[in-house]
């Protein structure tokens, strides 16, 4: 006779950096109503790793008690901004809330938050979800008075998902031996703009389409790690000593899709190109990560870093267009804009894991450290920043287009707005101060 063991599905297991415990403790001591924030790390099929946590930034107007119910829109916007600052392998895993409010109510609140956050972040992805993606997100409720923590997960793919209890364990050096795979990748995109619709929103749509095509090419591209094509299931740190940091260099080979879906020749109102190179990287947990994971995370980072920078630039342009609607500015024939460069900052002094930020050419490092503090609650000095991976873009006289005459050649550099300012209409936006414009007119 057989004995059937019916066990419920096991809950997830979160391994959390010690520093996060200290951070949450500190927040408990603030005694400021309810405090929300994001939990950041990496999920794997077996367990999840939380590397850092960051509180939702305080809104300027409500410096006083933030009130008992968190501002959902604000939390989501914060998550969106933070997402842009996370290299491959790091993502927003969930939401924490520090409140002494009723546990059941809190669960409802935090469930709403985590679904909203996840939906927004995944709606901005330009790649297709993979079968092996983890779709569980975590909610952590800390009662500041009793210091009790309640950790539960929801499957965000299922809107009716019920809370499942999960393990929450603190550990030191969670990511101290994580490995990193990186590459420098060439970007060379050229897309037409529709006839009579060449505004910034059209650029956004056209470039997004092209980025999706590129994402698909990268997805099916061949990936070499340290010069070798390895089988998907090969373990990256296989054979090496455990707890030794590894860095790998990747190469990606691509080919255009064979099918020609669009018409060969179409009318257009112009074109937009993005040309240059970017540094891309992905961090991998140290629990026998496979080549398949490294490839997936790196390729996603490639696409999102380009998409993020394009987004940021277009957001800038939209804002400056709003500002200058009154003035009669002649629309130039060709304009060039520098995309911001990527700068990295370690999450904590000793670990290899870094977050990143984007610096426009008219900004200084102090703006970067300000943003790191505001968004990720990281206290970093300018000397902590890694600025060696990319140099700022430089506009040269020609970008290869066959045009007869060049009148004046100077770069257009939009002034950076601070992050929250762009998103929230109430904040003060800095005007785009164009030094001068690049003209390529037809004679």
């Amino acid at each position: 006779m057989f004995l059937l063991l019916l066990s419920g599905s096991m809950g997830r297991s979160y391994i959390v950096e010690d520093a996060v415990e200290g951070y949450l403790s500190k927040l408990c001591e603030l005694q400021a109503g309810s405090i929300t924030g994001l939990l950041i790390g990496q999920s794997s099929t077996q367990r999840d790793f939380v590397v850092t946590a960051t509180r939702t930034p305080q809104k300027e107007e409500s410096a006083a008690a933030a009130g008992n119910s968190p501002d959902k829109e604000w939390v989501i916007e914060h998550a969106r901004q933070v997402s842009r600052m996370l290299p491959g392998g790091l993502s927003v895993l969930g939401v924490f809330i520090i409140t002494d409010a009723d546990s059941k109510d809190t669960l409802t609140t935090v469930r709403q938050l985590v679904f909203a956050v996840e939906n927004l972040i995944s709606s901005e992805h330009l790649w297709n979800p993979a079968d092996d993606d983890v779709t569980d997100c975590v909610t952590l409720h800390v009662n500041p008075k009793t210091r009790k923590t309640f950790c539960r997960t929801f499957d965000v793919k299922d809107p009716k998902s019920m809370a499942k209890p999960a393990d929450w364990k603190y550990q030191s050096g969670v990511c101290s031996s994580w490995s990193m795979v990186s590459c420098c990748i060439n970007v060379n995109m050229l897309v037409p703009l529709p006839d009579n619709r060449t505004g910034t929103e059209n650029m956004d749509t056209s470039l997004k389409e092209e980025l999706k095509v590129w994402a698909h090419q990268l997805e099916s591209g061949v990936c070499l790690i340290d010069g070798k094509k390895l089988a998907e299931d090969t373990e990256l740190t296989g054979g090496q000593k455990r707890n030794v940091r590894q860095t790998y260099t990747a190469q990606i080979l691509i080919t255009p899709d064979d099918q020609r879906l669009t018409d060969v020749v179409q009318r257009c109102g112009g074109s937009v190109s993005v040309r240059g190179a970017i540094h891309s990287r992905a961090y991998l947990h140290s629990n026998k990560p496979k080549v398949k994971l490294a490839e997936k995370l790196l390729k996603r980072d490639v696409v999102s870093t380009v998409a993020t920078r394009v987004q940021m630039l277009l957001e800038e342009l939209l804002t400056s267009e709003e500002e200058s609607k009154g003035s009669s500015r002649v629309k130039q024939q060709t304009e060039q804009f520098c995309l911001p460069r990527r700068i990295f900052c370690p999450v904590k002094a000793s670990g290899p894991v870094c977050v990143c930020d984007y610096e426009f050419s008219d900004e200084g490092l102090s703006e970067v450290t300000d943003r790191l503090k505001e968004m990720l609650d990281i206290d970093a000095g300018e000397e902590d920043l890694d600025t060696r991976q990319e140099t700022p873009a430089e506009i040269t006289e020609r970008d290869g287009a066959a045009v007869p005459a060049v009148e004046t050649v100077e770069a257009l550099e939009p002034k950076r707005n601070n992050y929250i300012g762009v998103a929230m209409a109430s904040a003060v936006a800095l005007l785009a101060t164009a030094a001068s414009m690049l003209y390529l007119s037809d004679v």
């Binding site: 420098c184 990748i185 060439n186 050229l190 037409p192 703009l193 006839d195 060449t198 650029m203 990268l218 591209g221 061949v222 070499l224 010069g227 070798k228 094509k229 190469q251 990606i252 080979l253 691509i254 080919t255 255009p256 899709d257 064979d258 020609r260 669009t262 060969v264 020749v265 179409q266 009318r267 257009c268 109102g269 112009g270 074109s271 937009v272 190109s273 993005v274 040309r275 240059g276 190179a277 970017i278 540094h279 630039l313 130039q332 024939q333 060709t334 304009e335 060039q336 804009f337 520098c338 995309l339 911001p340 991976q389 990319e390 140099t391 700022p392 873009a393 287009a401 066959a402 390529l440």
Partner: protein, 472 residues
């Protein structure tokens, strides 16, 4: 000017590179000259792409990747530029390797195609080594046209057993560069306003010693409009003007590539031909597909043999490029006979047999092909038709339909000795009802050499000998 190979085609290895190359540009003007300049500039960019260090050739079904412009650097490390090209085969995983035990014994008795093909894929390396500067977004506002397509690159290089990887890849690069030039020519030549035709490469196998040549044709322009070009090519290669070497349908079919329609091509090629005293073998020229009972979900067992023989003949005309229409179905054949007044309307959909006369009529009606009829009053007389059959295969080279007694067959060739009068007939039997299994078909003689006793000695026979149009 074309890239040719002058060596025996049956030996060595063919390297074939295929891959799409993105072709994008903004056509600023409707001025033809400026458009041409725009296109040429884009081609210049493609040339430098192909010559750059980012150009990569990957060998299909293998872990081998080669950077031809970085001193022919390869991964895995064991592959060095001075290795012999044919050694690449060791790295390629083939289907045969997986079922090696089962198949090898039987396979050895058959002649396999002597030239081997290594397929490569053209790719670009998107990554590069730093340092690098962040990207620039450039926006141009101008009413114009945008051209976006991919060029279907397809180059071949024929290597001998002595060629090293370095030699072979240098030649491949030359072939790639040359093909880009040809493609540019074709685009510019056929460009009308802003309509553009995609250049398509095709390979043609010319008689020894010329070997495999590659031509670039404009997509969508039918063979009938390219006759002048073909005339030039025939002159250039010193080819007779009565065989269409350069029609699209005649493009070389690479060995081991399955035909999409699933029919077997030229099953007779694996047979060992009879050797008669002072005898010679005269065979069908070109390529045909084997058509027989039960194909296309059509159960014509017992009545369709002549139809199948006719279909085999039609496939020959299609595959040499003489006609573009697909091989007709039984119904279409019957309809054609009704249309010429040979049969009543009720004939369509029936299971009535047809004979050589009907075959001749249908070939004329549907394909515009004329045929000669040969009448033999008794089967035994066929033994004396050696000379005529041999001549047919020499001058026409088409398959012959023979009907008599209660059966129809296709004759693909004859082995005949002028001095001894010995004769053998290469028969393709349409009565086969099985699957497209080359081994079964040749082992069991569904395609095979028969003696004079194959024929019903007392029955009379009619043969339909299709005449090949003398065009290119």
């Amino acid at each position: 000017m074309v890239v040719t190979v002058s060596q025996s085609f049956d030996t060595g290895t063919i390297l074939r590179v295929r891959g799409p190359l993105e072709f994008k540009c903004q056509l600023d003007r409707t001025d033809a000259l400026l458009i041409h300049k725009c296109i040429s500039t884009t081609f210049e960019m493609l040339h430098s792409q192909v010559k750059s260090e980012s150009c990569v050739l990957t060998i299909c079904d293998s872990p081998v990747i080669i950077w031809p412009n970085r001193g022919v650097y390869a991964t895995p490390e064991e592959i060095s530029p001075n290795m012999l090209c044919e050694d690449i085969h060791q790295w390629i995983q083939t289907d045969e390797q997986e079922s090696a035990g089962k198949r090898s014994a039987k396979k050895k008795s058959k002649k396999s195609s002597a030239v081997s093909v290594i397929n490569l894929r053209l790719m670009m390396e998107a990554t590069k080594t730093g340092p690098l500067s962040a990207p620039i977004l450039s926006k141009t506002v101008q009413k114009s046209h945008f051209l976006s397509t991919t060029l279907p690159i397809d180059c071949v290089v024929h290597t001998t057993c002595n060629d090293t990887i370095k030699d072979a890849f240098e030649r491949l690069l030359e072939a790639l560069t040359h093909q880009l030039c040809e493609m540019e020519k074709v685009i510019l030549q056929h460009m009308k306003g802003t309509t553009l035709l995609i250049p398509e490469p095709l390979h043609f196998l010319l008689p020894e010693p010329k070997g495999l040549v590659t031509m670039v044709y404009p997509a969508g322009v039918p063979d009938s409009q390219l006759e002048a070009q073909r005339k030039e090519l025939h002159q250039q290669f010193d080819l007779p003007n009565d065989w269409p070497y350069f029609r699209r349908a005649a493009a070389y079919h690479f060995p081991n590539e399955p035909y999409k329609d699933g029919y077997l091509r030229n099953p007779h090629l694996v047979l060992t031909h009879p050797s008669l005293d002072n005898g010679k073998v005269y065979l069908v020229q070109g390529i045909y597909s084997y058509r027989h009972y039960m194909q296309d979900h059509m159960d014509d067992n017992g009545w369709g043999c002549a139809y199948r023989s006719l279909q085999t003949i039609c496939s020959w005309f299609q595959q040499q490029g003489y006609v573009e229409r697909a091989v007709p179905t039984h119904k279409e054949i019957q309809q054609a006979l009704v249309d010429v007044g040979d049969k009543q309307a009720s004939f369509v959909g029936s299971r009535q047999w047809i004979g050589s006369i009907e075959v001749q009529a249908v070939l004329n009606q549907l394909l515009g092909v004329t045929s000669k009829i040969m009448f033999v009053s008794q089967g035994s007389d066929l033994a004396s038709k050696g000379r005529e059959l041999a001549n047919h295969f020499l001058t026409e080279g088409t398959p012959i339909m023979i009907g008599g007694g209660v059966l129809a067959h296709t004759i693909l060739g004859v082995a005949w000795s002028e001095t001894t009068g010995q004769i053998r007939y290469l028969i393709l039997d349409p009565h086969y009802t099985g699957a497209e299994d080359l081994q079964v078909i040749t082992d069991k003689g569904w395609c095979g050499w028969k003696g004079p006793d194959f024929w019903d000695q007392t029955a009379y026979y009619n043969l339909c000998l299709p005449q090949r149009p003398k065009v290119i």
